[in-house]
Structure formats: C-alpha cells, structure tokens
C-alpha cells in the first residue's frame, strides 16, 4: 500500500452541504431517443462547427453532421439515425436566453449506426495521430468549460509533461454525474487515462477525488489493482469547494501555483476531467464519437432524481418528462450547479456537451435585495484565487474597467464563494461577469475600429493614387495632342495624296453616271412608246384637279 501522499491546500474555499446522495441512489438510466434532437453548432470554446448536411438528408448514428472550422474547433456527430429536419436558430442553454444556429434531427427510432473505425493498438500510434482521432470524435472537456480536448493533449514545445492530473473532484453541490460514472465505468476511465498519457507522453498521472465519494474511489482503486497499473495514482482530497477548479486542484495535489494569465501547461501539468477520459476511451477503442454524456437530474423540484446517459441534443423538457417529470411546486431551473450554474428561462433547450447537471428547485434561494457593502472582508477570506473581491466589486460598480483588470479580474474563476458569504447579499460574481463581458465588448470594438481605420486609410491612399494616375493620363494625352499639332505641317504630302485619290474617285463616278443609263440609244419605236406613256401618266395625274 502506498504511503499517504502529501497534500497542499489552496486559499479560501467553503464547506458546503453536498446534496449529492439525492441523485446517486440508483444506477444510471440509459439514453433514450427523444422526439427531436437540437444540436447547437457551437458547444465548445472556439469557432462554431460548419454543417456538412442539408435539410432532408438521412443521417446515421455517429455520422459527421458538422465539421470543425479552424484550429480551436471540433466536429459534431449525429447521436442517432434520422432525418435532418431543419438547420435554424434555436434557443441554446446559455444565460442570455438567445438563439444560436442548430441542426435539428428527427430520429427515425431505428438507431442505425455508421461504420465505426476502432483503433486496437493505440500504443503504436503517433501521439499527434491519436490527438487527431480525439478531435475527429468531437471530444471537448466535459467538466464544464468545453475546451477542445485534443489541444489540451498537445504538450506543445515542451518535451516532458511532469504530471497528468485527472479532475474527479466534482466539488459543486448536487452534481454527481462524474461520481456515478466512476462507480459504473471505472475500467473505461482508467483505460481512457492511459490513452491520454500516451498522447501527452506523461510519465505520471494523479487522479484527484474528493473524500465524499468513497464508492467511486474504491471502484477506481480496484480497477487499478486488477489491471496492475502502477503509474496512475489515485488520491483522496478534502471536500472543500472549489477543489474542482483546475488551478485549485493542481495546487492541492502538487503544491504548484499556475501563473496568472497562464496555463497549467506552463508549469508542466495538464488537467483533464474524468468524464473526458471515458469518452476518449470510447472514441479510440470503439471509434465512437461524443454523442452522449452522463448528466445529473436533481433537486427537490424533480420527482425522480438520478444520473442518466443523455444523447447530446435531447431537449430538457422531454428528458425530464421521460424520467418522472417535475414536482408540482417547482419554481426554478438551473443549468449546472447552484454555485456556478445559470437560470434557465425555458426548459425547451437541449442538453449539450458541456451540460453536467440540471437542478430544479421548489424554493428558489430568493436572496434578499443587496444592501451596501460593510467592508467586512469575508469575501477576501474565501476567495480561492487570492483576489480582492471587494476591490473588484468597487471598480466594476464604477465601470472602471482598467482598474478592475489591475486587480486581476481575469483570474476570477466565478466560483461564487464571495457572493455566498457576503452578509450584504451583494451579487459579487454578477458584477465580475458584467465587467468581463464589458471588457470583451470593448476589445471587440477596439479591433473593429482598428480595422476601420486601416480600411479608411487604404481608401484615402487609393483615391490619392487614382487622382495621380488620372492627372498623369491627362498630361500624356495633352502632350500627344501638342505633338500631333506640330507634326501637322509635315503631313502635307500625305494630305495631297488623299485629295488626289478623292478627286480620282469623283471623276470615275461622273463617268459611270453618264455611261450606265437604259434610255441611251433608243429606237424610234421605243421613244414613241415612252412618249405615249408619259402623256397618259400626265393625264391621269391631272384628272383629279379637273373634278
């Protein structure tokens, strides 16, 4: 048995009531095929995917329906067989409640699948080829942010990754999908981690799991000993929210601090979610793209809470109805957990690759209205990123977006600890989100105005150039005209030749005129006939005048 590993701790954090047992009472439900599947083209960070199917096409399960566009992008696959019924704007699970481009599939219920290409010996594959396979399977981080996994499996210019850290902390209350997955599919997870290790060429791997999940811990540990794997270590860590934050987990397990504005890769560490490992295993072992995921359905507003495999694109309302429906007193629907999730205004939105939990509450935590800050500093004590939430709040409140960045706003992970402890009930995280989106908007405007300046300057330059060219042409024409005028005297001989030729033509014409006339050389008889006709014609024309 291994000696207990030395653990570190991060600043702040909270002990929150877990509520996790609510949804882990029974085995996970299998995925069902809903009436329709709504698949947003963007379910990941980066560029949205581009559709490669048309309305009316029949698609098979696992078939590519939208390809990646650009480097930071992943493709999208059909979760089951059916007809593409529409490609249009639909509501996506997003705090804005706005619509986004989606492919809508009407399943035919047969669940016919396309030929899947499995890799039997991934160890013989080049890490970059392995990463491409993972990309082609459309895999993104399933922990919540949805960053394309293949990028995070690229060690870059670094030759050695010290540690691969698998995030199995799942620290947010109510959420238990990773817990359930570890209990039910420990083998898939461990083998997925081995594939990741190969892609990263990482020597060592640590799975960090909170100590409130003993069943999952023992399932993973048993699998490790069954497969006699020695380079993967599983470590139980204290249950403190937000241990599951990437930088917090790295601190707890390795004692290393990730740099501000930097990546864990900068300190030789890569962190992946445990569910991502399972989906990578399926993608390599069976060639199966990411078309379903485990999602927690929980809260007292749900009749039958539990974890379910859900096809990506399944509408929330249909999923909940399929699994026992709402409690009559349900009032609030949250996508994600109670700390970091956002309210859903409608349940007619799909489950996407990054949806980990759906929380329905009967008694919404209706926080009383915010009152002025009393400068108690409780927010600072709990901040896991060691920021000064109060300062950030003042600057965001005053819309001083330069100052708020000086206080490292972008190191905020929006965990919600500060809002949770605030005795004045100030929605601090809302202020930070507001400031972040305002700053992004300002940066977009800046880029746009720089572009406009370039185009305007280019236009002025072009107009100036055209003007000069026109002036140049005019000058040349004028010069040519002057030259021809001065040359006119020299051309006298030519002119005379033309005159002479014209005179000759005129002469010839005259001759021809006198030559060809059919009244020349007439006989006396013919002359007489003509005279008669002339007289008759004269008579006939005069007649009307007499009348």
């Amino acid at each position: 048995m291994m000696t207990p590993r030395k653990l570190w701790s991060f600043h702040g954090g909270l002990h929150l009531p877990g509520h996790k047992h609510v949804s882990t009472q029974h085995a996970s439900g299998a995925a069902f095929i809903p009436e329709r599947l709504i698949l947003p083209l963007q379910q990941h960070i980066g560029e949205p995917a581009e559709p490669v199917v048309n309305i009316g096409d029949h698609v098979l399960g696992g078939q590519l329906i939208a390809r990646a566009s650009g480097y930071v992008s992943v493709p999208l696959h059909a979760p089951t067989s059916g007809i593409i019924s529409d490609i249009s704007e639909q509501k996506a699970p997003h705090p804005s409640n706005l619509k986004t481009h989606c492919i809508i599939i009407k399943p035919d219920g047969k669940d016919d699948w396309t030929e899947l290409e499995a890799i039997t010996h991934y160890q013989q594959l080049d890490p970059s080829a392995l990463r491409n396979r993972i990309r082609d399977a459309g895999i993104v981080g399933l922990g919540g942010a949805g960053f394309p996994s293949f990028i995070k499996l690229n060690p870059g210019t670094r030759t050695v990754i010290d540690q691969l850290i698998i995030n199995a902390a799942e620290c947010e209350p109510y959420i238990s999908c990773d817990d359930q997955l570890m209990r039910e599919q420990p083998r898939d997870i461990i083998q997925g981690i081995q594939i990741m290790q190969h892609a990263l060429q990482a020597r060592h791997c640590i799975i960090g799991i909170e100590d409130n999940k003993p069943e999952a811990y023992s399932a993973l540990e048993n699998t490790l000993s069954e497969l006699s794997i020695s380079d993967i270590e599983i470590v139980q860590i204290p249950t403190i929210y937000p241990t599951g934050g990437e930088k917090q987990l790295i601190k707890v397990l390795t004692g290393k601090e990730s740099p501000s504005h930097g990546l864990p890769l900068d300190i030789g560490v890569v962190c992946h979610n445990v569910a991502t490992a399972a989906s990578i295993f399926a993608a390599i072992q069976f060639g199966k793209p990411l078309i379903s995921r485990m999602v927690t359905l929980t809260g007292d507003g749900i009749n039958n809470p539990g974890n379910h495999h859900v096809l990506i694109g399944t509408p929330v309302d249909e999923w909940i109805q399929h699994n026992g429906g709402y409690h009559p007193a349900v009032q609030q629907l949250i996508m994600g957990g109670p700390m970091m999730g956002f309210n859903l205004e409608t349940d007619q939105v799909p489950i996407i690759k990054t949806s980990n939990c759906l929380l329905a509450l009967n008694s919404p935590e209706n926080s009383p209205p915010a009152v002025p800050c009393i400068r108690c500093g409780a927010c600072m004590d709990v901040c896991p990123a060691k920021l000064l939430p109060q300062q950030l709040y003042w600057q965001a409140f005053a819309r001083d977006f330069d100052k708020v960045q000086d206080y490292n706003l972008f190191d905020c992970i929006e965990c919600g600890c500060c809002s949770y402890v605030c005795p004045s009930q100030i929605p601090l995280v809302q202020y930070y989100r507001f400031a972040k989106t305002e700053i992004w908007a300002m940066e977009r405007d800046k880029r746009k105005s720089d572009q406009a300046r370039l185009r305007h300057e280019f236009r002025l330059e072009r107009i100036e150039k055209e003007k000069q060219e026109r002036a140049e042409r005019m000058r040349k024409k004028k010069a040519a005209l002057n030259a021809s005028k001065s040359a006119a005297s020299k051309d006298d001989g030519k002119k005379q030749a033309i005159e002479a030729a014209l005179a000759r033509v005129r002469e010839k014409k005259k001759q021809n005129d006198s030559d060809i006339k059919n009244t020349n050389n007439l006989t006396a008889e013919q002359q007489k006939k003509i005279s008669e006709i002339d007289a008759r014609r004269k008579k006939s024309t005069e007649k009307p005048v007499d009348d």
Partner: protein, 191 residues
C-alpha cells in the same frame, strides 16, 4: 577661473552635441499625440464632429482647435478616455454634434430597389459597399461602421439602418441593480 570656463564650455559642447545627435537619430515622424488621440476615436469616419473623418478631428484636438466632446459614436467613454490622455476635465457630449446612442447599427441595401448608381460606394469611408455601375450593390456588414454617410446620396432611398443583432458571443451580462440602502442606514443618514 580659466579651467572652470573651459570645463563648463566643454561640458556644454558635449551635451549640446549629444542632444543634437539624439534629435536627429531618434526623430519621430508625425505627431505621436495625434496618433494617440486617433487610437481612442471610434473610427466610424462619420463626420458628426464637423471634421472629415476621425484623423482630421484628432489633429484638430491636438492643435487645440476642437473640443473633446464632439464625437457622438464614441460617447461618454471616449470623452473620458480623451480627458485622461490630455489631462483635461471630462464634459458631457456637445448636443450640437448629435446624441449618443448605445444600439449599434449597420446599413442594409434593399436590392430590389437599388438601381446600381454607385453613389453610396463613393460615399462609404471604409469601402464596405460592394458593387459597380448598373449592378446591384450590397453592404459588407462586418466592415460597416454604421456612419450612415451612404444614406443621403442614395437617389432611390434603398438604404436602411438596421440594428446589429446580438448573439451569444456579443451578449453582455447586465449590471446588477445597485445595493439599496437598508432601513437602518437610511435612518442614520436622516439623523
């Protein structure tokens, strides 16, 4: 006495020469202040400031001939930024130049009505209109700055202003309602 005079003169000559050399070596073309001001302006090139474009306005501000509150598309944030840069006091937007409108707009050409006269193409300061004589014109909305300069020249009034549609990427979190004074504090304030 003489040593002192020689030393001082020598020093003066050395530093004079150094300054002269530096002035030539590190000479900056153009006025950097104009560039800094220009960088803060929104580059709509709309002319609402009464100057023919953002750069001429920046030059006028640098010369002290124009005030910093004449840019309606930039609005309050631009005025504050200019005031910060130039060490002036921020002031409200001059109503003579227009009013600030937060909703971003672009123009749209009704292709059914367009006669292909190219007048709008000539008016567009950022070459955002595509087309040629007797051919339909269209606006490259990604490049359109919403300056509306193409609208007056159009003889058939086929150019319409449309607000830029907000999507998931451009959506901004709203600012939370400010804290309300609790009964205790408001009571204290009255006392």
């Amino acid at each position: 006495m003489l040593t002192a005079i020689i030393t001082i003169s020598l020093l003066a000559a050395i530093f004079g020469g150094l300054l002269g050399y530096v002035a030539v070596k590190f000479h900056i073309e153009g006025d950097p202040v104009v560039d800094q001001i220009d960088a803060l302006l929104p580059q709509t090139q709309c002319g609402q400031c009464s100057f023919p474009g953002c750069r001429p306005y920046a030059e006028a501000i640098a010369r002290g001939e124009a005030d910093i509150n004449q840019c309606p598309p930039g609005g309050e944030s631009t005025i504050v930024a200019l005031a910060d840069l130039l060490g002036l006091d921020a002031k409200p937007l001059n109503p003579e130049n227009g009013t600030e409108d937060d909703t971003k707009t672009v123009v749209y050409i009704d292709e059914q009505v367009c006669i292909g006269c190219t007048l709008c193409i000539q008016a567009c300061p950022v070459d955002a209109i595509l087309g040629s004589a007797k051919q339909m014109h269209t606006v490259i909305t990604d490049e359109c700055t919403g300056c509306d300069l193409c609208i007056p020249p159009c003889p058939v009034e086929c150019i319409h202003i449309i607000p830029v549609k907000q999507d998931i990427h451009t959506w901004k979190w709203p600012r939370p309602a400010p804290p309300i004074a609790s009964p205790q504090t408001s009571a204290k304030a009255k006392v």
